[in-house]
């Protein structure tokens, strides 16, 4: 028999409807999500991306190794990716994108009147090591306005998209910086009802380093769905 499960009303996840976030009301399905068995199709997923795509040791703070660095606070971001059973996910592909120190993305849809930084690319991919660990350098992103809202400023955050081992553990999120006053008013961060869970969308302050590359450290581990939530069809 197939065990039924759903994250739909899970307090550990972000609400699907968020007040003052209009698109959450026009894009969330009305009908309840349909339970289905998980076959090989859902229990497999893209694991070959690391071979298919250009992926390297990542330094978002400069376009190439001998180039000048982007403006802003140099940071080192690191953490681990585990499944629900606590097993590290090795070789997991992580896609990253973020604004520059002035809160501007290199993106056609970004109409914010803030300067582009020629030394800041703002996106890239990396892959976890044998222990499921990742690490990259970047600069701390700036806050930016959601222009059509008339009031909402997004606090500094980095976007993560992660490929685990199956279609069911495909994961996309945003991670915020501790102590920013805009964290208190952000509709998305505060869309998680449970306080302890909300903290899991915020970096932990890590170690500062001094040397060849001096940086301020931030840490964030991720737990992706694993075997417990992916019962087999039998």
């Amino acid at each position: 028999m197939t065990k039924e499960y759903s994250l739909y009303d899970d307090r550990s996840q972000m609400l699907r409807y968020i007040d003052r976030y209009p698109k959450s009301f026009t894009r969330t399905p009305l009908a309840p999500l349909i339970q289905r068995p998980l076959t090989l199709s859902e229990r497999t997923g893209p694991i070959g991306l690391a071979q298919q795509l250009a992926i390297g040791q990542l330094d978002l703070s400069r376009p190439k190794a001998d180039a000048p660095r982007a403006l802003g606070q140099l940071i080192s971001v690191s953490g681990r990716i585990l499944d629900e059973d606590g097993s590290p996910l090795r070789g997991a592909v992580i896609e990253l994108w973020q604004a520059n120190a002035a809160g501007k993305y290199i993106h056609k849809m970004d109409n914010h009147q803030a300067p582009i930084d020629p030394n800041f690319i703002g996106h890239g991919r990396l892959v976890t090591n044998e222990e499921g660990e990742y690490q990259f350098f970047s600069i701390k992103p700036g806050a930016y306005p959601v222009l059509e809202s008339g009031w909402w400023w997004r606090p500094p955050h980095i976007h993560f998209s992660i490929f685990g081992v199956s279609w069911m553990d495909r994961y996309v999120t945003q991670i915020f910086f501790p102590g920013d006053p805009l964290n208190e008013t952000d509709l998305l961060l505060n869309g998680v009802p449970d306080r302890a869970t909300r903290d899991r969308l915020i970096f932990e302050f890590g170690d500062t380093t001094m040397g060849d590359v001096s940086s301020v450290g931030y840490k964030r581990d991720f737990i992706l769905r694993g075997h417990r939530r992916t019962p087999e069809l039998d």
Binding site: R16, P29, S41, W97, V172
Partner: protein, 175 residues
């Protein structure tokens, strides 16, 4: 351990992350097809600048993944994963090959929508006929046709619209 919270993909997902994965058929064995359609919100307005992801078996029904007992015979030229973004009118377009039937399943492609306003992903499955399938059978019979792509009479182009909410809403699966 508790699964980490999802958050919306937002408006600024890099275009190149999508565009470089929008052709799965280039080096693959099988019948190249186009799957295309619109992603629409309530009131049938377009969901611009959203991301649609695809996961499917190769033309012989084999998944490029070690869990598939036939993994060793998977088409080395077929990645299985693709991605498209929607344009100003909500249209997406992906090039792939017609999937084969995996053991116990009808030919199908897993589809995921990531968009502004969706704090979590939405997942569904697109089929190419009403052949018996254990996932399609979970959908109320009257709604099943919404998960079957329509073939263009003259070309290998299949139309599959994703209506996120409202009348004729696409059935989505629990996550």
């Amino acid at each position: 351990m508790i699964v980490s919270p999802f958050c919306t993909i937002g408006p600024f997902f890099p275009f190149e992350f999508a565009d470089e994965l929008s052709d799965m058929a280039e080096h693959a064995i099988g019948t190249p097809i186009i799957v295309t359609g619109r992603v629409l919100e309530e009131g049938l307005g377009p969901t611009r600048n959203s991301i649609v992801e695809f996961w499917q078996p190769d033309s012989n029904g084999i998944f490029r993944h070690p869990l598939d007992p036939r993994f060793a015979e998977a088409d080395p030229g077929f990645p299985g994963f693709g991605r498209a973004r929607t344009d100003h009118d909500g249209w997406y377009r992906i090039r792939t090959v017609l999937p084969g039937a995996p053991v116990g399943r009808a030919p199908h492609i897993n589809v995921m929508v990531l968009a502004i306003g969706l704090t979590r992903r939405l997942v569904t499955t697109v089929f190419f006929s009403d052949a018996p399938d254990p996932v399609l059978e979970c959908v109320p019979p009257a709604l099943r046709s919404r998960l079957i792509a329509g073939k263009h009479p003259d070309t290998e182009t299949y139309r599959f619209d994703l209506i996120l909410r409202g009348e004729n809403e696409t059935p989505f699966f629990a996550d």
